[in-house]
């Protein structure tokens, strides 16, 4: 056998032991996790209920779903939910700006930015519905609590993404402006802002999509929107009403997703 081939063979990556260990490790973790389930068999009543709900999905309460006027109107409730998400996102996007600048390494240096990032991390991990309950103590139940909750809670993720954008600034452009004799204000206006704005907006829109889902979650704890209708309908066994609420959520989230993707890709490509 060719000696080069022989030595190459000796050099082969010997990952078998590592791979097997990883596999065993994961198996143990998964098996350990099953400890949490107490499988007493499926409650037969539960199966009946699930089947009814699935069945009701094919015939949702169209009266509620398509009602744009008085009475229980799913479109109106979804509008409220979307409005919560919208205002909350704007609030969060604006509040996140100072946080982000304070936490960007190229602005405040390593020590301060670490502190800022930790703060942002803490906000991000704060469970949104606790925040919701806290705001409800102030405003009472209703969508305003939702707006404030989403606003504050969004600061976490939005700041984090802003920081990434800020740290990605191409300083070459700033230097080029400097070379043409621009003053600080002009450098910010023409050098920094155009680099930041499209990405900031894209981030906000991305977060908006997520916030519509958060708004749905918050509406379950009482912050207005469609959640209450859903749980109320379930509580009185009115499956078609609950199905209508679910469809409302699905349709609105999907539509927003489509629009949001379109707008964000327009931002990225620079088309109108």
């Amino acid at each position: 056998m060719n000696p080069d081939v022989q030595s190459m063979y000796q050099k082969r990556p010997k990952t078998l032991a590592r791979d097997i260990t990883l596999l065993i490790f994961f198996t143990i973790v998964i098996v350990w996790s099953t400890q949490t389930i107490h499988f007493d068999g499926l409650n037969p009543a539960g199966i009946v209920i699930s089947r009814s709900i699935l069945d009701a999905l094919t015939k949702p309460n169209l009266e509620w779903l398509l009602n744009f006027g008085e009475g229980t109107s799913i479109p109106k409730l979804m509008l409220e939910t979307v409005a919560m998400a919208f205002l909350g996102t704007i609030l969060g996007a604006i509040l996140a700006i100072p946080f982000a600048f304070l936490s960007a390494r190229n602005i405040t240096g390593r020590f301060a930015s670490f502190f800022g990032n930790t703060l942002i991390g803490m906000i991000r991990t704060f469970p949104i519905f606790i925040l919701g309950l806290m705001f409800i103590r102030v405003t009472g139940p209703g969508p305003l609590a939702g707006v404030l909750t989403i606003g504050i809670s969004s600061i976490g993720m939005i700041s984090k993404l802003y920081v990434e954008i800020i740290e990605d600034i191409d300083s070459g452009i700033i230097m080029a402006l400097d070379a043409t004799g621009a003053n600080s204000f002009q450098k910010i206006r023409y050098g920094i802002i155009p680099q930041l704005t499209p990405n900031f907006i894209s981030t906000a829109i991305y977060r908006f999509e997520i916030n519509v889902r958060n708004a749905t979650i918050l509406s379950l704890v009482g912050a207005g929107g469609i959640g209450f209708t859903l749980t109320a309908a379930l509580a009185v066994y009115r499956w078609v009403d609950a199905a209508a609420a679910l469809w409302g959520i699905v349709i609105v989230v999907l539509v927003i997703e489509v629009i949001s993707n379109k707008v964000r890709s327009m931002l990225v490509s620079g088309d109108r």
Partner: protein, 308 residues
């Protein structure tokens, strides 16, 4: 193009209203043309360019319009019912909670919440695992470059888009209602949600895969199955693990609140403490949650980085 130099004359025989209408139309059209002319730039060699309208302005206007409408919908209508002073008076309710979380920080409470926390983590792990296990084969079936039938792929994608728009908590609420409380429904809810989002992320990647390698391996005399395993699976494995970990990160956070609707874990304690105003205990839970999520996220990021 009507005569834009002079406004329409008022004619005794004409109706006042027609005159007003025509005047408005005249001013409107003139405005547009003037603006158009104002945006026209003529260069020194005679070439003229019309500056396009800034589309940013257009969207900004939409944004402002929507904001105004929504603010009216939510904020204004709120303050129509609740006087502003009352609102201000109640703000301390919020700040109170935060300060109490810090001052009444009840560390001895920590051992009591270890078990619920473990439940929460286990729910997330198991739910992610089950969801991922189903997501992979279904993602293959949903990929247009692997499955010939466009009907099948589109139907699957449609169903997936429904499944993934419903947040985990909603699934948990419905399941809790149907089957009663417990961590099992938390696992199922997480699994369903994971299945939804992971399938989408997967088929988006699968559809970008190069199938040439498959043809090549098949031409060496391997069966279709073996060729698939040898050529396609290696291309997707790394991404699959990475995306599963990403879903796990999302699920850990969602898991923490599933208890609120009865699906087990630490969520139910959170609600309890809120209701009984035991903010010290709440603070401990939140702090622990923070640490755990931080650790898990970093491990997950580290592994994901190593994979690519």
């Amino acid at each position: 193009m009507p005569n834009l130099k002079n406004p329409p004359l008022k004619n005794r025989e004409r109706d006042n209203r027609i005159h007003i209408f025509e005047s408005i139309r005249w001013y409107f059209l003139r405005n547009i043309v003037q603006t158009k002319n104002a945006r026209k730039v003529v260069l020194s060699d005679g070439v003229s360019i019309t500056k396009p309208y800034s589309f940013g302005l257009f969207y900004l206007l939409i944004l402002i319009g929507l904001s105004y409408y929504f603010v009216d919908l939510i904020v204004i209508s709120y303050f129509e019912i609740t006087p502003f002073e009352l609102f201000v008076k109640r703000i301390p309710n919020f700040t109170n909670i935060v300060s109490k979380m810090i001052t009444d920080f009840n560390l001895p409470y920590l051992p009591r919440i270890i078990q619920p926390l473990i439940d929460t983590i286990q729910m997330a792990i198991l739910g992610t695992f089950i969801g991922a296990a189903f997501a992979l084969p279904v993602a293959f079936l949903a990929s247009q470059n692997l499955v010939k039938s466009k009907v099948l792929t589109n139907v699957i994608k449609l169903i997936l888009s429904f499944i993934r728009t419903i947040p985990t908590l909603v699934y948990a609420a419905i399941l809790a209602f149907a089957f009663g409380y417990g961590t099992t429904i938390g696992v199922i809810a997480t699994a369903i949600f994971t299945f939804g989002i992971l399938s989408k992320m997967l088929y988006e990647v699968i559809e970008t895969l190069d199938l040439g390698a498959f043809i090549a391996v098949e031409s060496t005399g391997a069966t279709k199955t073996k060729a698939f395993i040898a050529s396609i699976i290696p291309q997707i494995m790394g991404t699959f693990v990475s995306l599963t970990l990403y879903s796990f990160e999302i699920n850990i956070r969602a898991s923490a609140i599933l208890g609120y609707v009865g699906a087990g874990g630490i969520g139910i304690l959170l609600d309890d403490h809120m209701t009984w105003r035991e903010y010290g205990h709440l603070g401990v839970i939140l702090a622990l949650l923070l640490v755990v999520v931080f650790i898990i996220e970093n491990i997950s990021r580290y592994i994901r980085k190593k994979m690519s």
